[in-house]
C-alpha cells in the first residue's frame, strides 16, 4: 500500500465513520444525535449560525473562486 493509498483510505475511513454514526443516530435517536441535530445545536446562537454558514461559503470559495 502506497502513501497515496493510505491517505485516501484515511479519508474513506472518516467518511464511513460519519455514515455509521448517522445511521446509528437515525436508529437510536435517544442515544446518539444525528449530524443535523448537532448542527442545530451549534447554530442556536448567531455566532454559531454565522460560523457554520461561513464554513459552507468557504468551501465554495476554496473550490471555485479566485
Amino acid at each position: 500500500m502506497t502513501s497515496r493509498d493510505l491517505t485516501i483510505a484515511g479519508y474513506l475511513t472518516v467518511l464511513a465513520t460519519c455514515v455509521v454514526l448517522q445511521v446509528a443516530a437515525v436508529r437510536k435517536p435517544q442515544q446518539i444525535p444525528s449530524l443535523g441535530r448537532v448542527f442545530t445545536h451549534v447554530m442556536r446562537t448567531r455566532t454559531g449560525r454565522v460560523g457554520v454558514l461561513v464554513a459552507w461559503a468557504w468551501l465554495g470559495l476554496h473550490f471555485f473562486a479566485k
Binding site: V14, L53, W56, A57, L61
Partner: protein, 261 residues
C-alpha cells in the same frame, strides 16, 4: 443584636438590588442572541472599548481572522478579505450586544425590545406566512438551484464570473443566517447532547487528516501525489462541466439544509 440584624437587612437589600441590576443584563444579552456574552451574577458597567474587546475575545472571531490570514498568504486574498470581514462584523455585533445589555446604555429598553422581536419574530413570521406557499417556494428554489449549478458550472474554475457567483451567494446565505433561525426546532438535551463529542471527534479527525496531507505538500500551492488533499483528489472531477455542476448542486443542497437549521 440590633446591629447584627441591621447588617443582615442591609446585606439582603444590597443583594436584592444587585439581582434587579443583573437580571436585565443577562436577559438582554440572551435576547441579543449570544449566550457567550452573559455572565450571571456579575454586574456590568462597561465602556465601548471594553465592549469591543469582548467582541474580539470570541473564539470564532480569532479563528476567522486566522483563516483569513492563512488564505491571504497562500494566494487567496479574496477568501482572506471575506473571512476577515465576517470576523469584524461578528466582533462588532458582539460588542454592540454587550453594550446594549448594560442598563445604563442609552436606548437599552428599545434595543431589548428590538432584540426580543428579532429573536421571536422570525420563526413565527416565516412559519405563518410561508407555510401555505411552501411547495411553491421549494419548487422555485430547486429550479433556481439547478439553473445556478448548470450556469455557474459552465464557467471555468477560478475565473471572475464563478468567483462573483459564489461570493454573492455566500454573502446572501450569511446575511440570512445573521437574521436568526428560519424555524424553531427542539433543543438537544440529555444523552444525545452529551454524545455530540462523537461527531466532534470524527470531524476533527477528518480535518486533521486533511491538514497533515496539506503540510506534507512541497509547498502550500503545490499538490502532493503521495499525500493528496481533498482539493487535489477533486480536481479531476471539477475539470469537467458536469462534474462542476454536480459539485455545485451538492454545495447548494448543503447550504439550504444548513440555512434551514
Amino acid at each position: 443584636m440590633g446591629d447584627w440584624a441591621a447588617r443582615q437587612i442591609r446585606r439582603h437589600c444590597a443583594r436584592a438590588d444587585a439581582f434587579r441590576y443583573v437580571c436585565p443584563v443577562t436577559q438582554a444579552a440572551h435576547e441579543a442572541g449570544d449566550d457567550q456574552l452573559t455572565a450571571p451574577g456579575r454586574p456590568v458597567a462597561i465602556t465601548p472599548g471594553q465592549a469591543a474587546l469582548s467582541g474580539l475575545r470570541q473564539p470564532l472571531v480569532g479563528i476567522l481572522l486566522l483563516i483569513g490570514l492563512c488564505s491571504a498568504i497562500s494566494g487567496k486574498p479574496l477568501d482572506g478579505f471575506l473571512m476577515a470581514t465576517v470576523a469584524v462584523l461578528l466582533a462588532w455585533d458582539a460588542a454592540r450586544a454587550r453594550l446594549r445589555a448594560w442598563p445604563g446604555y442609552a436606548g437599552a429598553d428599545s434595543a431589548r425590545s428590538q432584540a426580543q422581536r428579532d429573536s421571536t419574530g422570525a420563526p413565527e413570521r416565516l412559519g405563518s406566512r410561508w407555510r401555505p406557499a411552501r411547495l411553491t417556494v421549494t419548487t422555485a428554489g430547486i429550479a433556481a438551484a439547478l439553473v445556478y449549478a448548470t450556469v455557474v458550472g459552465d464557467f471555468s474554475r477560478y475565473s471572475w464570473p464563478v468567483t462573483i457567483a459564489v461570493v454573492a451567494l455566500g454573502c446572501l446565505m450569511i446575511a440570512i443566517a445573521w437574521q436568526g433561525p428560519v424555524r424553531s426546532r427542539p433543543a438537544l438535551t440529555g444523552r444525545p447532547l452529551r454524545r455530540t463529542w462523537l461527531w466532534a471527534l470524527v470531524l476533527v479527525t477528518g480535518g486533521g487528516w486533511e491538514l497533515s496531507s496539506l503540510l506534507q505538500q512541497p509547498d502550500l500551492t503545490t499538490d502532493s501525489l503521495a499525500h493528496p488533499t481533498i482539493s487535489a483528489l477533486s480536481d479531476p472531477v471539477l475539470a469537467s462541466h458536469p462534474g462542476r455542476t454536480v459539485f455545485l448542486g451538492g454545495w447548494l443542497l448543503l447550504g439550504s439544509l444548513l440555512a434551514g437549521r
